[in-house]
Symmetry: C2
Subunit: 558 residues, 2 copies
């Protein structure tokens, strides 16, 4: 018994856990683990903004608290954007290597394009590898999730063992044969784990989430019955899903085109590293789709969340260079609906139906399976690890709270600490508790500017001479899609001089032109038309004046 009656190893310094993201929201996962003179950061994720935050491309955690530590390593559990998207932003705060599995690092690499020396800091690890960071020994343990090469991290610290699950489910039939490392988890549990940090995403689901393989039957039915093209939207990271589709295409003698930047890039990376096996002769280019009969083609697309600029949403309104939907086509949404995106996704589905194509999604056929473990899987993790303390991570407050209740039922001996971003958890001989509140929050990132933009971007921007906020207000007839009157323009923090006034006078005309050049479907879809107006106006200001105001279109449907 390594940690029996006492909370931490005798004489050990206190352990500090500082969640900076992912506790109280889905996304931007980030956690500091510190003990004595050693501190590491687990994951550096982003979150994608809600549609209201036009002009904002990414959201990352407030990083101020990192300055309180000398972070000696960044440890990445897997390659999803909510775990690696902010790597470039946190690197200045990390004085040491970046650890991750080969696939994870390959997905990080393109993000470091402008940080040449950063690549030399990437350090590939494999399951069961151990590395030493200051007074910590880190061990990587295989877990299964919706993409390959995911790990949990066991940290042997002076205070005891900290186990961070990363994102996981328990896929008993993983497509790549890489099982959860039950044996090492059990061994750690037997030896004594001080604190478990466990993924809470799916705690509200009963039972088990199921294997990635579970969607094969649903897709087989689609391949058997589809008369025309099969168009499948998925997350660009859904490499298992891609493999399943590629194998079925080979079996059913169809060609596969990747359509959209994300799926093209990720499939290339994964194929190069051996995580995706493309059967010979199956792949064609997106520009070749039109050269094959419909019944011979499968398209794997971006846009499963209804993002206006992605492949499927453009295809759905007949606005894609290479792919045009036809009557017998089947369009499959093979992804979950991220909360907040339901209406945008619904609109894309309606556009697809208008093209005469059949719409298939999770509610209709089993074409998606979650990568996060459900209640029984999360319980199994707790039972195997049987930690002294448990901190639910990755979820909104209600998922964390529910996971806390479940954990208390699984083991009366486990003490649960329910914390949110910015809660500094201290574990010492007196036990575990939220000891203080530290700075935490969100930084809004505008990808059109280079480098990092501070958390005062929106405030600053409104004060910058010649910058500011431009709000075009336009009324569109819902049925007609027509501009009902000359658009108005409201500005704020936008310096009015002779030059900018001339520019502003052109805005109503530009807004009207943007709307008139749009298809009827774009015009009657507030999400699409706002995005079009925003892109057009930002380009106009940038080209004509170098100004980069925040453009926030208000579209009223009347």
């Amino acid at each position: 018994m390594t940690n029996g009656s006492e909370s931490t190893a005798a004489g050990a310094p206190p352990l500090e856990l500082v969640p900076l993201g992912g506790l109280g929201e889905f996304g931007m996962n980030m956690m500091v683990v510190a003990c004595g003179d050693t501190a590491i950061l687990i994951d550096a994720g982003v979150m994608f903004p809600e549609p209201e935050l036009l002009g904002v491309d990414l959201i990352i955690p407030d990083l101020r608290q990192l300055q309180q530590y000398r972070i000696q390593a960044l440890v990445l559990t897997h390659g999803h954007e909510d775990h690696i998207g902010a790597v470039a932003h946190v690197l200045p705060h990390v004085d040491g290597p970046i650890y991750g599995t080969p696939l994870t690092l390959a997905l990080v690499e393109p993000k470091l394009a402008e940080l040449e020396d950063a690549r030399s800091r990437l350090y590939a690890v494999r399951p069961r590898d151990r590395v030493t960071v200051g007074s910590f020994t880190l061990e990587f343990l295989r877990v299964t999730h919706s993409m390959p090469d995911c790990v949990a991290v066991a940290m042997r610290t002076p205070a005891g063992v900290v186990l961070h699950t990363g994102d996981f489910k328990i896929d008993q039939t993983p497509l790549d044969g890489e099982h959860v490392d039950f044996h090492r988890l059990a061994q750690l549990g037997a030896e004594g784990v001080l604190v478990l940090l466990g993924d809470s995403t799916n705690i509200e689901r009963k039972g088990v989430s199921g294997s990635e393989r579970d969607v094969i039957d649903g897709f087989e039915e689609i391949f058997t019955s589809a008369q025309g093209r099969i168009v499948i939207a998925m997350f660009a990271s859904s490499l298992y899903r891609m493999q399943i589709v590629l194998d079925l295409a080979f079996q059913f003698d169809r060609r596969v085109a990747f359509v959209g930047r994300g799926v093209i890039e990720n499939s290339q990376i994964a194929e190069r590293l051996g995580y995706l096996r493309i059967p010979p002769g199956v792949q064609i280019r997106d520009s070749d789709v039109r050269n094959f009969p419909s019944q011979d083609v499968v398209c794997i697309c971006t846009g499963s969340q209804g993002e206006p600029q992605a492949a499927l949403p453009r295809i759905a309104i007949d606005d894609h260079r290479h792919v045009k939907l036809e009557h017998d086509d089947v369009v499959v949404f093979s992804a979950r609906e991220i909360p907040g995106n339901e209406k945008a996704i619904g609109r894309v589905m309606n556009h697809v139906a208008r093209r005469g194509a059949d719409v298939v999604y999770e509610g209709i056929k089993h074409v998606h399976v979650s990568g996060h473990g459900s209640e029984e899987e999360l319980k199994l993790m707790l039972s195997l690890v049987r930690p002294k303390y448990f901190v639910p991570i990755h979820g909104e407050y209600r998922q964390l709270a529910r996971h806390a209740r479940v954990a208390a039922r699984v083991s009366a001996g486990t003490k649960v600490v329910l914390a949110e971003n910015g809660d500094l958890i201290r574990i010492d001989r007196d036990g575990a508790r939220v000891a203080e509140k530290v700075p935490a929050g969100r930084i809004l990132i505008d990808g059109t500017r280079s480098g990092e933009v501070g958390d005062e971007v929106l405030r600053d921007r409104r004060h910058l001479a010649g910058d500011g906020l431009v709000v075009p207000v336009v009324a569109i007839g819902r049925q007609s899609g027509a501009v009902e009157e000359t658009p108005d323009v409201i500005t704020r923090g936008f310096v009015l001089d002779a030059r900018t006034e001339t520019l502003l006078k052109e805005v109503p005309g530009l807004v009207a032109a943007a709307i008139e050049s749009a298809s009827i479907e774009e015009r009657t879809d507030p999400g699409l038309i706002k995005e079009k107006i925003r892109v057009d106006l930002q380009r106009f200001f940038r080209k004509r004046s170098g100004l980069r105001p925040l453009v926030l279109p208000v579209v009223m449907e009347i």
Copy 2:
């Protein structure tokens, strides 16, 4: 065979069907049925606006096309707002009685408060009743749904029989013993139905939706295990659900308080008419909740959609006069999430979890059942009625399109007409088709003004002297909830004179005060805080000047 080889009865005038709402969206259901010199309107529903349309309380269909007909009756299928909410608005266009079942009419009556003579036009009907309107004979047929006293309408017209299902599912064990009138539907099917208009809401769900009784087990588990209060949010029209909760409360010796205007009013109406039986001694007033031990209380609340002003959302942030959540309480969301409301509902759930109460919803326990038939039920309707023509109604385009596909499989002899709002469907000896496009769209209604507001409300408002648009722009720290700088105010169509400028100067302070007087939870919840700012500022302008600008707060979380 009344209509064998020919499409309509020999020598009959053509039949016209004009959907004005509900075909291409969920909500604001409305359909003109016209043949020869007779025209009637089926349902007069509203839709509730998306959060972006602040200042708009309701949306109703564009009614211009009604002027093309002499509408001789308004026929209501049931008492949901998306079928009766616009009755006051359409009445000026109806030259005749309003038919509906007793419960439906009782729910309509309060809407006619300012139209005294309108009440004399209400005409109660019961299932199997027949009434004559011009050259039509209408017959009402019992169907089951999520509320009592719902009917389908069979219209015998000179061209043939038109059957409108209303909203329905096939509840084989209805709580009130009122079964779907299978026998009459079968009889009509045997005699020959020209056209069936069928509810498409749940066509994407496989199998059957289940009985209203199906939630009893889930609620029984909650009543058995709950240590504290049981707080249940539901639609105000969920009278079966209320009955189930009242009966369980009686059985488990708990008292029930209705909390929130909608559930209070509807429960009173339903009890008065005998649609709700409140067991003796069970009901208490909301103001008495605090006088009973937690474990003896059930609250039936409004706010299942996260509406900021409704009961549960206020309770969740400790801002309700009578009800305060405690640690052992259980909060049940006994309703579906209407698309677009997911984030608002999620925020309310997080607030509830922060109070330490347990959150239960459909995904966790079977505490909600849909009132709309799933695929097998919709097929059964098609099989019983086996119409010559079928028009899918009530759904977004993709549901209508899917229902069309399913109908084609059910009966090769049925011709499907896929139409949207504003498509005038004409059925004559040459068949059925969309013959022309007629005006259709949306009218935005501002409930703070009396009477009807035309579809130009937003445009007009911006031109009215002293009216216009006021956009307070405020930046709030996401974690702190603090106002990060003095709020800005943007105006448009708001006449600036000495008086209004004085008013505007007060706005930043008012916005800051509104935020400061809010709880931390309100402040960090964009939906709640926008609503609070809007309400406060509208009140300010109205009281101080009689002005009613559209207030559209922009809240940036930083």
